[in-house]
């Protein structure tokens, strides 16, 4: 089998180390260079957060990986298949193994939520019976944390948070191994955002997903990301866990994670951790001390 040993067959899951490999990616729009020799590897089973300033090309990177934006130069491999080799079969072989949640949900507005979830099923597996397809669609909708009524509702009848969940249900329709989320918590209230983070983590653990997650949300980074890739200076300047990144001596990274918002997210995370260990005396004491600290008094 040689180098093909990592390639999954039609009914097999990917067993290689890196489901997504980006090598030497260059994206240029006219004179405007977005990516210059960008390298990135996503490990199987991790939630990889992707951060970067506005206009640093996070979305372009995602679009390059999922084949919506043919890169100017460079190599993109998904599940060990090269998507840049311009062989349509290669691309087709992976389209049913990933799910994408676009920023606005990108639900088809003329279809109900249930029908939206059925679309990819119909497209890739027309042999499924209507009944099974509808059953699958409805359990995916429920799995995404939507109430049963949502199945028959149209996207315009849903709130922003519910629309994202419906988009997630459609992204999960084919039981993908790889999930791309483009700013899933943007525009959600803190409660909705935290709930979406929990859902992402739960689904990743239950379904064994690999998640590529673009975000601006520091809480998301701290709470659920295994590693974080930082996009700056037209490439990925670092991929590491959040604590390790915070130790790096890079201006943008320092400002991002150690700025006031970064610190707030971190202390929220730390408090959460402490609360989990309330039964140990030292944690309880620390919490008490923190509550009494002058700057935390409301």
């Amino acid at each position: 089998m040689g180098e093909d040993s990592n390639r999954p067959g039609r009914h097999e899951r990917y067993r290689g180390e890196h489901p997504v490999v980006v090598k030497g990616l260059v994206n240029r729009f006219g004179d405007h260079v977005v990516h210059e020799n960008l390298d990135l590897e996503v490990r199987r089973g991790e939630i990889l957060g992707v951060v970067g300033g506005s206009g640093s090309g996070k979305s372009v990177l995602m679009r390059s990986i999922i084949g919506l934006q043919p890169p100017t130069e460079g190599e993109v491999e998904v599940f060990g298949r090269s998507l840049t080799s311009s062989q349509p079969d290669e691309v087709l072989g992976v389209r049913d193994r990933w799910g994408v949640l676009f920023q606005g949900g990108a639900l088809f507005s003329t279809l109900t939520v249930g029908e939206n979830v059925e679309v990819p099923l119909k497209q890739f597996y027309p042999e499924l019976s209507d009944k099974l397809r509808k059953d699958i669609a409805s359990f995916k909708v429920l799995l995404s944390g939507l109430p049963a009524e949502a199945v028959n509702q149209y996207p315009s009848e849903l709130s922003g948070g519910m629309r994202k969940r419906a988009g997630l249900a459609r992204a999960l329709a084919l039981d993908p191994e790889l999930l791309f989320l483009d700013e899933p918590t943007a525009g959600l209230d803190p409660i909705g955002a935290a709930a979406f983070d929990r859902l992402t983590l739960e689904l990743k653990e239950t379904l064994g997903l690999t998640v590529f997650l673009i975000t601006h949300d520091l809480d998301t980074l701290h709470a659920i990301c295994d590693r974080v890739a930082v996009l700056a200076d037209k490439k990925v300047i670092a991929v590491d866990t959040v604590p390790n990144l915070m130790a790096l001596d890079h201006e943008w990274i320092q400002e991002y994670f150690n700025g006031p918002r970064g610190r707030a997210a971190l202390s929220a995370q730390a408090l959460e951790e402490l609360r989990k260990h309330m039964d140990t005396p030292i944690a309880a004491q620390t919490l008490k001390a923190l509550d009494n600290a002058p700057d935390r008094k409301a």
Partner: protein, 370 residues
């Protein structure tokens, strides 16, 4: 490596069969098996998953469904299979996907009622819009300094000047068609020379203005609706209000005025181009020299034909502008509305133009301008 999903049933005495599933149980492989699975109804006490090589939520859900339907116990599930089944079992099994539909007569009544209420809201909407335009016009007359001259000139350019090539070409071709088809019929009576009367009178009185109005409705009426509608969606209209700019004065009046002012000019230009087209084809096909054709036009077309066209044109322009701006301002909610309202703007404008044109025809005939 790529084996298929399969199952076997082994009988072990009274009602103690085992349904053994094997191979990959995935959304990609289950379709082939579905019909056979539904056929199982024998006594099965256990569902054995130990030979299942791969499983996803769909496979887990189908296994759960089988277990529930056959009242069987699941054994031999891998750690992953257990996890998935815990997550999806009981989800959506009895869920009714199709929304309960009302009886036909209920739906017909409901739809009729909706339409009636919609029509009433539409009438109120149009009346309110006309009132808002009148009051905005009143304000502008009292405070002429607030009038947006630049916006008007810009809209006049878009509605009028930018439309010259397409309106010209269209009219030229229509002139050719009328002259050529007319000549074919008239020659049966030996009256080819009357082609001049036909082309001159019909274009100046009717077609020049009417076709231009249809073209302007398609070009500019739709653009009005789409522009204003998009601005409403992006909250630009609301932003204007908060800054103290009245959208009626800034967006609607300049557009309606531009359409009203440019229509007579475009209509006259269209009539001239149609006559030039008719003269051109007559020159080649009928043997009437180009200049003779134009000279004859002055003799056979009464001047009131020109007035008929020029009086109708601003009214048509007003209708197109009103329809475009009204539907644009009615947009709310989602982007789908923009498309819907744009279509409505064009359809209602063209319809109204043709109806009004019929009234004008009767009116001018009574005046003696026949």
């Amino acid at each position: 490596m790529d084996s298929e999903a399969a199952f076997t049933i082994s009988e072990e005495g009274e009602g103690h069969g085992t349904l053994a599933l094997s191979g990959p149980w995935l959304v990609s492989s289950i379709g082939a098996l579905e019909r056979d699975l539904r056929g199982i109804d024998g006594p099965v006490a256990r569902i054995d998953l130990s030979e299942v090589s791969e499983i996803d939520t769909v496979g887990a859900w189908v296994a759960c469904d089988l277990a529930e339907r056959l009242d069987a116990e699941v054994v031999g599930a891998s750690e992953r299979a257990t996890r998935l089944m815990d997550a999806v079992c009981g989800l959506g099994g009895g869920l009714k996907l199709a929304a309960p539909r009302d009886a036909v007569w209920k739906r017909i009544t409901a739809r009729t009622g909706e339409k009636v209420y919609g029509a009433r809201a539409g009438i109120y909407g149009v009346l309110g819009f006309l009132g808002a335009i009148l009051s905005a016009s009143g304000t502008l007359i009292r405070h002429p300094g607030r009038f947006r001259g630049k916006a008007l000139v810009r809209q006049m350019e878009l509605v009028g000047v930018a439309a010259l090539p397409i309106v010209g070409l269209m009219s030229f071709l229509i002139g050719i068609v009328i002259a050529q088809q007319g000549a074919v019929q008239l020659s049966q009576f030996g009256a080819e020379t009357l082609t001049v009367n036909l082309v001159g009178r019909i274009t100046l009185r009717e077609l020049g203005v009417l076709m231009t109005a249809i073209m302007v409705a398609g070009r500019s009426g739709s653009a009005f609706a789409a522009q204003i509608g998009t601005m409403r969606l992006t909250e630009e209209v609301d932003a204007m209000r908060t800054i103290g700019i009245a959208p009626m004065e800034a967006l609607v009046i300049p557009r309606i005025l531009a359409a009203t002012l440019m229509m007579p000019l475009l209509g006259f230009y269209a009539s001239v181009m149609a006559i030039v087209g008719g003269a051109t084809i007559s020159n080649f096909a009928l043997g009437i020299p180009f200049l003779n054709f134009l000279e004859r036009i002055q003799d056979v077309v009464p001047i009131y034909d020109l007035w008929v066209g020029l009086i109708k044109a601003p009214v048509f322009g007003l209708i197109v502008g009103l329809a475009g701006c009204y539907h644009g301002m009615q947009v709310k909610g989602d982007s789908e509305q923009v498309g819907l309202r744009t279509t409505l703007a064009v359809v209602s404008a063209i319809f109204a133009v043709i109806v009004i044109d019929a009234f004008f025809a009767v009116f001018f005939t009574k005046l003696g301008w026949a």
